[in-house]
Symmetry: C2
Subunit: 502 residues, 2 copies
């Protein structure tokens, strides 16, 4: 039996090596590749992806899983191998239901749709992308039909990103969160506005990167197993336990992305670096879901990196780097980096309004998949939700419905919920960490992050994808997903900044 497990692992490691090689090629494409390399790179990536898929849906994998099934389902000899068996069984059953013909058609469509969007967005040309969106929606419906028996047509799409979660439960959670957030935004808007002009000035991004590197290192990102580069869109990417890289971007005239996007990606990367080395090369060796991943990136970026405790220690150091801040008091700086302002752009949104951006996209995805909304009606529906939730209306498509790459570069359905699930989880997880180690806030106030990092590593990172997001959240916090901790955190933090009465 052990022998079968070894055979399975050998096959899985080959697939992992193909996927890791593809990841290196992706990273190279984003950071290093000369323009002339595009065409061949697309072909190389398609080949690696096709070979990885072929190796995974090989009936031999199914036979090995079947041979393991009888005893492994009940009493696996080790936790790691039991989790690996469950994970691979689930992904294998998912993979073999989708015909290779569909996968290739969908991949080709995504590539075409992305190119059309990239050209049409600067022209503000929704008509150009509309037929591609219609095709994307059709492809998503087709995908769902390979998984009959779902409660909601979005469920098979959602479960790819968040195993075990459904449209119904996310919709209920999101509705509860929205009921709390909309009034909070309104109260903040009625308060005296925060002045964030101190963040605009002479902030060379190379200096912001250098400061961010120090902070990432202090957080626990290991540069001997990673590196930081500049790209158009920031990302974190894992090639192996020993090689998890991050990229960032920024402006020379604004203290913002160059620092905070770096912390965000380091949060993703610390999760990947913290996965137990024993899992390396196996499919369980990565973060378990988009939501849990966001709980780490946004946890380090916001709950730590935008907290008063953090800046009590770090602000004098920041002032040393940037003379423009010398005369700005900590309280003013802290309010500036946490300024709440309804805006059109999700990725630039503050902690309070951010989730409104996410939840409206999620709702629109569901309405599209349900057939309640057509692609032709999508721009109007988008604008109506921005008006009702945030009180502003996009003046164009570019900063409206054509804003995010997701629907154009990947497809429709199951793509946005993770951002807000991550925020919800981050509040629960940090509350649990502080229950376990009440000294954490004081440590952060002293520039020490080791207790928090070690607790996250031991309770979350090390497990990789061995547990589903729900299982993991239960293990870590003893709770199911809850709205209250995030709302309490936001009310307390922003109540203080904006002087709202409790």
């Amino acid at each position: 039996m052990n022998d079968k497990m070894q055979q399975l692992k050998e096959r899985l490691r080959v697939i992992n090596d193909l996927n890791s090689a593809a990841a290196v090629l992706h990273w190279d494409q984003a950071t290093q590749m000369p323009v002339g390399g595009e065409a061949a790179r697309a072909r190389q990536l398609a080949t690696l992806s096709r070979l990885a898929h072929e190796h995974f849906v090989d009936p031999a994998i199914g036979q090995l899983l079947d041979a393991l099934q009888p005893e492994w389902e009940e009493a696996p000899p080790t936790e790691d191998d039991g989790a690996l068996y469950r994970y691979v069984r689930r992904e294998y059953e998912r993979a073999i239901r989708v015909p290779a013909e569909y996968t290739e058609r969908a991949a080709a469509h995504s590539t075409a749709a992305f190119s059309v969007w990239a050209a049409a967005r600067p022209q503000d040309d929704f008509a150009a992308v509309q037929p591609y969106l219609e095709q994307s929606l059709q492809l998503s419906r087709e995908y769902a039909h390979y998984f009959p028996g779902y409660d909601h047509i979005a469920d098979p799409l959602i479960s790819r990103a968040e195993e075990g979660m459904t449209a119904a439960e996310i919709r209920a959670i999101f509705a509860e969160l929205r009921r709390a957030l909309v009034p909070l935004v309104q109260r903040i808007q009625a308060a005296a506005p925060v002045d964030n002009s101190c963040l605009f000035g002479d902030f060379p991004r190379e200096k912001q990167y250098a400061f961010a590197r120090e902070i990432c290192t202090a957080f626990g990102y290991d540069f001997s197993r990673g590196r930081l580069d500049e790209t158009h869109h920031p990302f974190a990417i894992r090639f192996a336990h020993g090689d998890v890289r991050i990229t960032t971007r920024g402006r020379d005239d604004h203290l913002g992305d160059a620092f905070f996007a770096t912390l965000h990606e380091a949060g993703h990367a610390m999760y990947e670096q913290g996965v137990a080395e024993a899992l390396d090369g196996l499919p369980t060796a990565h973060g378990t879901s988009s939501g849990v991943h966001e709980s780490q990136s946004r946890g380090w970026e916001n709950l730590v990196g935008r907290s008063l405790a953090f800046w009590e220690w770090q602000y004098p150091r920041l002032q040393e780097c940037f003379p423009d801040l010398a005369a700005i008091p900590l309280a003013q700086f802290y309010a500036a980096i946490n300024k709440v302002e309804p805006s059109l752009i999700r990725v630039a949104a503050d902690e309070v309004t951010y989730n409104l951006h996410v939840m409206l996209r999620f709702d629109l995805e569901l309405a599209l998949l349900e057939g309640e909304l057509s692609i032709a009606e999508l721009p109007a529906a988008w604008n109506a939700r921005y008006e009702s939730d945030l009180g502003i209306t996009p003046a164009d498509y570019r900063d409206g419905v054509m804003q995010d790459v997701h629907w154009y570069g990947i497809g429709i359905g199951g793509l946005f919920q993770g951002y807000t699930l991550g925020n919800l989880m981050s509040a629960q997880i940090h509350a649990a960490a502080t229950r376990a180690h009440p000294e954490i806030p004081d440590e952060i106030r002293r520039g020490e992050y080791g207790t928090l990092h070690e607790w996250l590593r031991a309770n979350i990172y090390t497990h990789g994808a061995k547990f589903t997001p729900k299982e993991l959240l239960q293990r870590v916090t003893g709770e199911d997903l809850r709205v209250a901790p995030l709302v309490a955190y936001l009310q307390q933090k922003f109540g203080a900044i904006y002087g709202l009465s409790g």
Copy 2:
């Protein structure tokens, strides 16, 4: 029939994509990878290499070749496809003779031998590497035995690098060259020595790289399909027609490698960039042999980049970059970069003595394979040849027999001849180019390299590996490999520099 060719090409493109992905991973390893990435990278590369090999020795490839054979051998419909058929047939027959078990054993041995050498060389510890060299020699003999019927045991090893060439003909050619070179070196040593102290001073390597970038661009290296990075050992690497990169290295206190190694690698890279785009993704889409490749790298580096004509135009520009040269006349600088001096290190050798370094290694490889020399006797034999050919004896193993990575990182046999074959060919090829376009020297004197580059592209680069080195040399020069052109070139150039009487 056409259909079979298409099927063959589809299979070959998959293999090409795997090899290209491996090349990207190698480049990343040398230029970007954090130290923590080593272990996983070795595993990823081994997997890609194994899969590429498995895809190539697939009996389906043999069946497709057999189906094509009857008509393609006599009258292929196109030159490209005919050449592809011949190339793949030859490589397939070579690949299937070598058992997978041998290939894996040899690869594992090379990896181990390299590590031992890398640790032992700084310690000057030949005893540590001796058993590995003995095993390498044994593996080379084993390899040769998979190709019975050879004239010389080195022939199967040589033909991997230079298809169609044999130990006997190379030995004869090299003997002739050596008979001309040894007295030339002696006459130069008897002449007044050249003072090259002007090359040592304040020469920041970033400025040397910048100057080299301009020259490479002027030569015809296309940076929109390539890039330049710094590595421990310079190299050029092809991922595709649109992506051929070079690396270099240098010192801040010496005008040398940082400039000339960059030109050398750009020579390799222009060859790869010049292969017809129609061949991209096929196995004929790369330079045809080590020797022809060296003819291009050393041709651009030495016959152009160390010529008086080249510096007549470029020296004033170089002086603008480096104030230390302001007072140094062109003639002094030109002599300095061409100073001939017997030395221990091959890669640092001048144009005249370089081939002596190469040929003695080639002769020692043959003696080892013949059984005329044992590994235990190798250091003494090495030192004796340095004394007899160059008049100097290594004081240690480090700069003696343990100097080059080849025997330790790859194996013994067929590894060195290409360097001198390339020098011989470069003289023949440049003579042919100048016969076809007598204006080339005057153009170089004006900083123009387009006629030379275009002639090389149209006559050599575009063909990739469609022709064997011998076929290509005949097409390009109308001659077989000859010693006289290189000797005439060296006698004329260094006779002038050293004031030797004709």
